[in-house]
């Protein structure tokens, strides 16, 4: 499914973003403090099982790459497993696995995160390892050359082999006219092929520092003990005085909508995908993002009851799938997306017209109060269900803090969602559905033309 998904790390496991509606519980024991070297620490307690999770989130992502080096943030994430002065290449994972633990990492446009999941009494060990590679990474030509092949294979598997991923990549490049969000996280292949040891070292030295990181420890842990462990392992690492707030090139006013058709013989189900530039969550100001989150839920968050599936799958029967999606947890502009997979015999042009008809009708009629009430109930329930998954809770804090939100922003997100009114939703919808800010993509087969009745014979 298209949408903003950060790259999974070293395994093929999908690292989908936490659903925006899955919320932290208000009463959960969460402790936060900052070490003298600027490392922010968050401790989330869950004593139901003797498991602990360590996550280190660096405030650096693919949108912080130097020009011409797309993919370097993700490449450095891979190389973080290739050894330090005291740990051999690939030994990091071996040590964690020898303790029964698991580890991995992931990168998005705005952050790079590393995590381990271990028995709670093994935290000391993995905190020592993670602190070590925060400042002692040792890069060698042989490992860099092999790992570059791995990321090229990764691009082949995840993007080049997948027409839908190629369309999303092309659409993002068109969506962002000036901001580096338009570059693929994994990188353009021709630039990935040229990434060097020197590029990796420069990127690592510029961005990997305690005052550019957030340490999240979650599970069966005691905040006082964690503070002592954090002081011991991370405390001695010197801060980098050159770390500065991230200022990326911003989007100019977008004046003209963009349209893209990607034709590929491997496409089985053509679809139309539209993304609009949309506001993101900002520190102290996430009300419009909350309204857009609820709007996405109303329009297409539920495959049976929401507006687009009801209209296109149940009533007009012009689609086999229709959805809306939005993730506002970004530093700079977010996107709001709509997708329609037409029913056999329905052209992409018709599917797009149907999609626009439903959106226009929604802008006239407004949300169904009962649907809004159900979403509020689900928001409240999501707080309860979310407490069952401590890893997801840890991600929510790490992700929010890494993009500059405050603990209060993160903890009050559920209240922000619950407070969204019909008027908020209509104001946000009216503002976001501006075709000048939109990219419309058609995924289709090469022959015959996308409108042709060939789809009917499928």
């Amino acid at each position: 499914m298209p949408g903003p998904i950060p790259l999974p790390g070293r395994t093929g496991a999908t690292a989908a973003l936490v659903l925006a509606l899955a919320l932290p519980a208000a009463a959960e024991p969460v402790t936060s403090f900052t070490l003298d070297n600027g490392l922010q620490v968050v401790v989330i307690e869950d004593h139901r099982a003797a498991v602990a999770i360590q996550m280190v989130w660096y405030r650096v992502g693919s949108a912080d790459e130097p020009p011409g080096r797309s993919g370097i943030a993700h490449f450095v994430e891979h190389l973080m497993f290739q050894g330090t002065d005291t740990v051999a290449p690939n030994e990091f994972s071996a040590i964690v696995e020898a303790q029964g633990g698991t580890d991995n990492a992931f990168v998005s446009w705005d952050f790079t995160a590393f995590f381990q999941r271990v028995a709670a009494d093994r935290l000391d060990l993995v905190m020592g390892l993670e602190a070590d590679r925060m400042h002692n990474l040792r890069l060698q030509e042989a490992e860099v050359a092999t790992e570059r092949q791995v990321i090229l294979e990764e691009r082949g598997q995840m993007v080049d082999g997948n027409p839908g991923a190629l369309l999303s990549e092309q659409m993002r490049a068109a969506q962002f006219q000036n901001h580096p969000y338009g570059l693929p996280i994994i990188g353009w292949r021709h630039e990935m092929e040229q990434l060097s040891l020197d590029d990796a070292r420069a990127f690592y030295e510029r961005f990997y520092a305690p005052n550019n990181a957030i340490l999240v420890i979650a599970g069966d842990v005691d905040p006082v003990a964690i503070r002592a462990l954090a002081e011991r392992h991370y405390g001695p690492i010197a801060p980098d005085p050159d770390i500065a707030p991230r200022m990326r090139p911003q989007e100019p006013p977008q004046l003209a909508e963009r349209r893209i058709t990607l034709a590929d013989a491997r496409v089985s189900e053509p679809y139309v995908l539209r993304t609009y530039l949309a506001p993101e969550r900002d520190p102290g100001n996430q009300q419009e993002a909350a309204a857009l989150t609820v709007l996405a839920e109303l329009l297409g968050g539920n495959s049976q009851t929401s507006v687009l599936p009801q209209a296109l799958q149940f009533e007009s029967r012009t689609a086999v799938h229709a959805a809306a999606f939005y993730n506002g947890t970004m530093i700079d502009d977010a996107t709001f997306g709509l997708i329609v997979v037409p029913a056999p015999g329905i052209s992409l042009a018709t599917a797009e017209a149907e999609m626009d008809r439903v959106i226009a009708a929604f802008l006239q009629a407004g949300p169904d109060p009962e649907a809004l009430a159900r979403i509020r109930t689900q928001v409240r329930a999501a707080e309860i269900y979310a407490r069952d998954d401590v890893t997801a809770r840890a991600r929510r804090y790490g992700e929010g803090l890494s993009i500059g939100l405050t603990l209060h922003d993160i903890q009050s997100w559920d209240e922000a969602l619950a407070a969204v009114t019909e008027a908020d939703i209509m104001a946000a919808a009216t503002r976001v559905f501006d075709r000048r800010n939109a990219v419309t993509g058609w995924l289709t087969r090469p022959e015959p033309a996308p409108d042709a009745p060939e789809e009917a014979t499928e």
Binding site: A50, N90, A119, G161, S268, F314, A373, Y385, D388
Partner: protein, 432 residues
């Protein structure tokens, strides 16, 4: 009857008492049994139900009936049509999911304590009284056909379906449980009713529950939820013979990468050598970066993004499978390395260090799985499907640790059959 004992996971680690897993066997007044772990920390309950049989009970000319029926369970029940049912479920903030695979039909649910009875009454209507309205059948059928069309152009699905067809032929395991465009198009409402009666029956139920509910509360709920299902379902399929000889099958597919699925016969779950085989596979192709295949093919040579192998235990067959993707010009080298590794481990078994590291990993990772009500309920129902005893969590790590170096050498000769490997390659590989 309620039988309780403590299944402590504290074998590898000295876990505090709170981490012990107290699995109760609860039998309802009507005779339905469930495994329960009570945890009253969070006001919700996770429920897992599995009905043995799954898509393999399909009549061959109705292939896909169980799959389509399963997708229709949430599309209207009793007095509620599809929309009314979904609205009622969402108003309670209950979550239901239904899934069919080759061996079972699964139901996953979670619901709040505050409206537990209403949520379970709704789920009961879906399981016992699904409507199978014609418009819902037609709409969901189009979704299934859409997935079949997508699978026909998805290299991973092509590889898996090709491998299964070659391995099992006309047995249900040899074809996609979702059916074909032809069989799915022909399915009728009567077929849905028959599939429902055949698949969701009391003679094949396994239930696991974890969360904010007591054994006394659960018993009567089981009868209300499941007691009105038919007593007996459709016959289960026969044993599946393995038909696939060694070799290479190439499916031409225009892509810069090849997707490779490989394997040969596996080993039954109840075989005395299963634990040794489990350790061998973990060391060879487990999902860890230190496994041999990952080390040799990814870390040392950069030929792939990821490679893994899996012991697949179906009810009526056992497979030993693996999968990876590689650029078309690198797939031959990756397969050569893989064959060499398969021969090496068959001859040499594991090193003492590998055995110890794998045992430490497996025994250490096991208790970490039991985190959260949802995870615990899924593990417990999976244990029941595999025929494992209720005290398995207590004995499992000791059985891993009992495997010796000699066991791994003996079982490696049996498990790894380099001369029997078959490779299905979807792509345009060169140099093979």
């Amino acid at each position: 009857m309620i039988r309780t004992f403590l299944a402590a996971c504290a074998i590898a680690f000295a876990l505090p008492a709170s981490a012990g897993l107290d699995i109760q066997e609860v039998t309802s007044p009507g005779g339905i049994t469930a495994w329960l772990v009570e945890d009253h920390n969070i006001p919700f309950t996770a429920l897992e139900i599995q009905f043995r049989g799954g898509t393999s009970i399909d009549n061959p000319d109705k292939r896909g009936a169980v799959n389509l029926m399963t997708a229709l369970i949430e599309e209207g029940a009793g007095a509620m049509d599809s929309l009314a049912f979904a609205e009622a479920r969402d108003a309670l903030a209950a979550e239901f999911a239904f899934d069919a695979n080759a061996d079972s039909v699964g139901v996953s649910a979670r619901f709040l304590t505050e409206n537990r009875d209403q949520a379970l009454a709704l789920l009961r209507e879906a399981l016992v009284n699904p409507r199978f309205d014609q418009d819902a059948i037609d709409r969901v059928r189009e979704q299934v056909l859409s997935i079949l069309r997508a699978d026909a152009k998805d290299p991973e699905a092509i590889a898996a379906n090709t491998f299964d067809r070659l391995a099992f032929g006309d047995h249900p395991y040899g074809s996609d449980g979702s059916g074909t465009a032809g069989t799915v198009a022909a399915l009728t409402r009567d077929d849905m009713l028959a599939a429902h009666q055949g698949a969701l029956a009391r003679d094949r139920i396994h239930v696991a529950v974890a969360g904010d509910i007591t054994a006394a509360e659960l018993g009567p709920l089981l009868d209300r939820l499941l007691g009105d299902l038919p007593a007996a379902g459709a016959p289960l399929p026969p044993r599946a013979d393995w038909l696939l000889p060694a070799g290479v099958t190439i499916v031409d597919f225009p892509s810069p990468q090849s997707t490779v699925r490989f394997g040969h016969v596996g080993i039954p779950r109840e075989d005395p050598d299963f634990f040794a085989a489990f350790i061998l596979n973990e060391a060879m192709g487990g999902g860890r970066f230190t496994a041999r295949l990952m080390t040799e093919i990814r870390e040392n040579r950069g030929l792939t993004y990821g490679i893994g192998s899996f012991l697949v235990g179906l009810d009526q067959a056992e497979m030993y499978l693996g999968q990876f993707s590689a650029s078309n010009d690198k797939v031959a080298e990756a397969i050569a390395v893989l064959r060499a590794e398969w021969s090496r481990i068959a001859t040499e078994g594991l090193t003492p260090e590998e055995l110890a590291a794998t045992q430490t990993f497996l025994t250490g990772a096991y208790p970490l799985r039991f985190n959260g009500n949802g995870a615990i309920a899924r593990i417990l129902v999976g244990m029941q499907l595999e025929g494992l005893p209720i005290d398995h969590p207590v004995t499992r790590n000791a059985r891993i640790e009992a495997v010796t170096l000699d066991d791994t050498r003996r079982v490696a000769r049996r498990l790894f059959q380099p001369e029997a490997l078959h490779f299905v390659i979807v792509g345009q590989p060169t140099g093979l």
